[in-house]
């Protein structure tokens, strides 16, 4: 059994700088097509390291606890949560928005960066897409169990019912959510699966056992790598990317509509759609960094997921974090500019009211901590960026908490003001959702290609190709050799 690919180089190679005109390599260590195949397939073919089993044991237990708590919740009712007048939208909606936000990075990396020809996406898109799917699964659970009678959640769908004789309410943003999150989840799933087909074929062709070969044969649908297939495949991939890019924006936009179409101060503001999208990208990238930093270490993928990839993601975290900060500022300004006393009160109350601690955790983690990424050593130090990414994750959870709870706890009717306290079940279930997420992610690492092998190879070939063309343009003699009948 192959252990470590011969070309593996454990040293961190700084490929973040490129001299203008000379693109630095995206992957390090003089990789060949075979070594890339080797390096990725090893993750699934070798026995998993001990840390995998420890993590898997822990997270699957947590997931089981989560599922048991859901069963208990359905049996007992949502009263076990801390949701109480006036804060009826509490942790469940906060957790929903938190997970959906995280679920934005994957499709963003696969679709929007694809459209912008950001080739560095190829090493990280598969893992990010997987993370997206699992985060959307965690997100989808919350509104499902929050509807009270969870077994009737299918009433949300517009199906001709002989019992109800009625249709869903299409003017409700919560129904838009059903469509947006449903479309997003299913489209991301097929996008992810379609991207995996060629790599599953690689897994199939490397399988030693007939059973393994049969399973991967079925999964890859008999992919041969035919050029005629590739052509249609690439077209379909491009179309999906072009569809998924606005889809990504629309999902968190619709989530923001849940809040913003109401008249509640602090919710009803027009910047919400782009601000939620920026926040989602921000939290999504932070989660990708949180997952990839240990993963590349455990599976020895440092040559494929290089500092350049991490550096780029940190730059996006910096940019979106600052955008989120700009949105906080704009909201504050407009609360004053609108001269609306309710709006002004809400924002002052957020910063200095009973939930001041949540507000300042949010600002510290979301706006201040990513500013550290202005420094290059922060962007290229794996430990430092991992810590910051966790801070961002915490901050983005608190952002949703601040938006949801501060506005609801101080609504128009002072007589109904209150202070929200979560219960033990709120906390355990949020913790448990991480168990589901991690369990699925670890299983993904064990059984599915964690890096888009064929895309990495395609970029290797393209950069080689570009180097040829450029060398030709620059009149360098040795550029001609391999090019053959190029023109």
């Amino acid at each position: 059994m192959a252990t470590i690919a011969s070309s593996y180089n454990p040293r961190e190679i700084d490929n973040t700088n490129d001299i203008p005109g000379r693109r630095a390599p995206l992957i390090t260590g003089n990789q060949t097509y075979t070594s890339v195949t080797e390096m990725v397939c090893r993750v699934a073919e070798d026995p998993q390291p001990r840390i995998w089993w420890i993590l898997f044991g822990f997270s699957s237990l947590t997931a089981v606890m989560f599922l048991s708590l859901i069963a208990f919740l359905i049996y007992k009712g949502v009263g076990i949560w801390g949701n109480m007048s006036p804060v009826f939208w509490a942790w469940p909606i906060v957790n929903f928005v938190f997970w959906v936000g995280i679920g934005h990075a994957g499709t963003l990396i696969s679709a929007i960066l694809f459209l912008f020809r950001q080739n560095w996406r190829t090493s990280i898109n598969r893992a990010a897409e997987a993370m997206t799917i699992f985060a959307v699964i965690c997100a989808g659970i919350y509104p499902g169990i929050h509807v009270g009678r969870a077994w009737l959640a299918f009433w949300l769908l517009p199906y001709p019912s002989l019992n109800l004789w009625m249709w869903p309410q299409f003017r409700s943003p919560l129904l838009w959510d059903v469509f947006a999150v449903g479309t997003y989840a299913s489209t991301s799933l097929v996008f992810w699966y379609m991207g995996m087909i060629p790599d599953l074929a690689t897994y199939r062709d490397r399988s030693k056992s007939p059973f393994r070969r049969m399973v991967y044969s079925l999964l890859c649908l008999g992919w041969t790598g035919s050029s005629r297939h590739w052509l249609v495949y690439e077209k379909a991939y491009t179309i999906l990317a072009a569809l998924a890019a606005p889809l990504v924006l629309s999902v968190h936009t619709v989530v923001s509509f849940d809040f913003a179409v109401s008249q509640l101060p602090g919710w009803h503001t027009t910047i919400f759609p782009p601000y939620f999208v920026a926040g989602a990208i921000f939290s999504g990238f932070a989660m990708v960094v949180t997952l990839l930093v240990p993963m590349r270490k455990i599976y020895k993928l440092e040559n494929l997921i290089t500092l350049r990839h991490l550096d780029n993601m940190n730059k996006i975290i910096l940019a979106t974090g600052s955008l989120v900060g700009l949105a906080y500022g704009t909201e504050f300004f407009m609360a004053w500019y609108s001269q609306n006393q309710y709006e002004s009160f809400t924002f002052i109350n957020r910063a200095f009211g009973p939930y001041w601690w949540a507000y300042w955790i949010m600002v510290t983690c979301n706006v201040i901590s990513p500013q550290l990424f202005w420094f290059k050593w922060m962007r290229t130090n794996v430990v430092a960026m991992w810590v910051v990414s966790i801070f961002v994750n915490i901050g983005m959870w608190f952002e949703r908490f601040v938006i949801t709870v501060t506005s609801l706890s101080r609504d128009f009717l002072p007589a109904s003001w209150g202070y929200y306290n979560p219960t033990m079940y709120d906390g355990l279930m949020f913790f448990g959702s991480f168990g589901v997420f991690m369990t699925l992610y670890l299983l993904f690492c064990k059984f599915l290609p964690t890096i888009a092998i064929s895309e990495v190879k395609g970029v290797m070939a393209a950069s080689e190709h570009a180097a040829h063309v450029e060398a030709e343009l620059l009149g360098e003699a040795h550029g001609h050799g391999h090019h053959g009948a190029g023109h």
């Binding site: 203008p20 943003p173 990317a241 606005p246 009803h268 910047i271 782009p274 001269q339 570009a466």
Partner: protein, 435 residues
């Protein structure tokens, strides 16, 4: 798909040493066409004449219509602001484009970047065009900004903003000076670095710009957003929308790419930039234009939906004004004209790779951008009346002429391609994937 080398027959000789590059090329292909040179005074005069004619025409027709000099003057000032914002948003689009090229270390855009730099360099001139508005404020007129004369203000909301000193002529002017100062400074520095590189070919100039583009984008985002609040949103100082800055940004970016397509196509038609700007660049600019048509629609729809759904009078009246007195035709018209038709028109790859097709849609986009600015600003001046609107249209044309005259002033005796930019070879050889 043909190999990229076939698409651009390059006849340049480039030699590369350690960290610099030199290139022998036909100098004639990267300068302004001779028939364009020295046209800026004529264009400027024609633009000014159109602007004045339009204003006078509007003043008289609107006045005759209403027998009301106040309304007519109000119309003219609003028309000027709308036409000014029409070109200002394009110039700001250019500034943002330049900044983002460096923050993303983009290579594809190098050969079209100089044109954008020249558009961006017109910002100091545009600051001069903003002066009439400042003069208007100091002449104590409330024709454009109702908050300028406190005695005539009835709304307590506006009074509060005046009393705090935010919406006052002094502070407004100070802020405008700050915005223009920041933009002009950023523009001038990025342009000067680019020109220095023309001389030395030193990669250091690229690295410096890469380093500073990040902070500059932050400054740009903040200043452009607040400029939109100040200049356009405050003509109706009761109304507010947090997304407003993003709205103008989206509209400006879309119009900027249309402008880029037109200028590049025009220069190529005049025999310039041959082989330097290829169908790939047009394809990419077309994609960006398409993208920002969608982005504008997204932002405009978000603003509309949230206020429509919330149904709070202090927010919806802004739309109510735009949905009566004749303006409803323009407002509803923007849905097909600014979204559906150009969206479908520029969706196909074949259109984006077809120069005449792309030029058609670029003109379309510039026209609807003018309609959009009219939609944002003109309904505040009163009900729609078509005849004075012709004066407004003349003014818009005049402003476009003046803007182009400024561009020509900046472009004269300047190479139109940063020939020694180290990323130029990448820009000359890249090919779009199959989208």
């Amino acid at each position: 798909m043909t190999s990229p080398i076939k698409q651009s027959h390059i006849h340049f000789a480039i030699t590369v040493s350690n960290n610099s590059m030199s290139l022998q090329y036909d100098k004639e292909t990267i300068v302004l066409p001779s028939q364009w040179k020295n046209k800026s005074p004529i264009l400027f005069a024609a633009g000014l004449a159109l602007l004045v004619t339009g204003a006078v025409f509007a003043l008289f027709t609107q006045g005759a219509d209403k027998s009301d000099g106040v309304a007519a003057f109000k119309f003219v000032t609003h028309s000027y602001l709308a036409n000014f914002m029409y070109v200002m948003t394009i110039a700001l689009g250019a500034l943002f484009f330049i900044l983002v090229q460096f923050v993303a270390r983009a290579g594809w855009s190098t050969s079209i970047r100089r044109i954008a730099e020249l558009i961006m360099s017109t910002i100091p001139f545009l600051a001069v065009l903003f002066l009439p508005i400042i003069v208007l404020l100091y002449a104590n007129s409330d024709a454009l900004y109702e908050w300028n004369v406190r005695e005539n203000v009835h709304s307590s909301v506006i009074k509060a903003k005046i009393d705090v000193g935010y919406l006052t002529k002094n502070y407004f002017t100070l802020r405008a000076a700050l915005y223009f100062g920041l933009w002009a400074l950023m523009g001038a520095w990025f342009y000067s670095q680019s020109r220095k590189q023309d001389e030395s070919g030193d990669i250091e100039h690229s690295l410096l710009r890469q380093k500073w583009s990040g902070p500059c984008i932050m400054i740009f985002a903040l200043s452009a957003s607040f400029a939109a609040f100040d200049w356009v949103m405050s003509i109706d100082a009761d109304w507010f929308s947090t997304i407003f800055g993003v709205y103008l940004f989206a509209a400006g970016m879309m119009a900027f790419f249309a402008t880029m397509i037109l200028i590049n196509a025009g220069l190529q038609k005049a025999g310039k930039l041959q082989n330097l700007v290829s169908v790939e660049h047009f394809h990419d600019m077309g994609k960006f234009m398409f993208g920002f048509i969608m982005f504008w629609s997204y932002i405009a729809f978000s603003q509309l939906l949230l206020y429509w759904y919330g149904n709070i009078p202090e927010e919806t009246y802004w739309f109510a004004v735009r949905l009566k007195d004749g303006w409803q035709y323009l407002s509803y018209g923007l849905i097909p004209l600014h979204f559906a038709i150009p969206f479908l028109g520029t969706m196909s790859r074949h259109v984006r790779r077809n120069r005449p097709g792309l030029v058609f849609w670029a003109i379309w986009v510039l026209v609807v951008h003018w309609l959009d600015m009219t939609f944002l600003i003109m309904p505040n001046a009163g009900p729609l009346s078509l005849i004075p609107l012709a004066g407004h249209l003349l003014g818009g044309l005049g402003m476009l002429f003046i803007f182009f005259a400024f561009f020509l002033v900046r472009a004269t005796n300047v190479p139109l391609v940063p020939m020694r930019d180290p990323r130029l070879p990448e820009s000359l050889t890249y090919a779009n994937p199959i989208l």
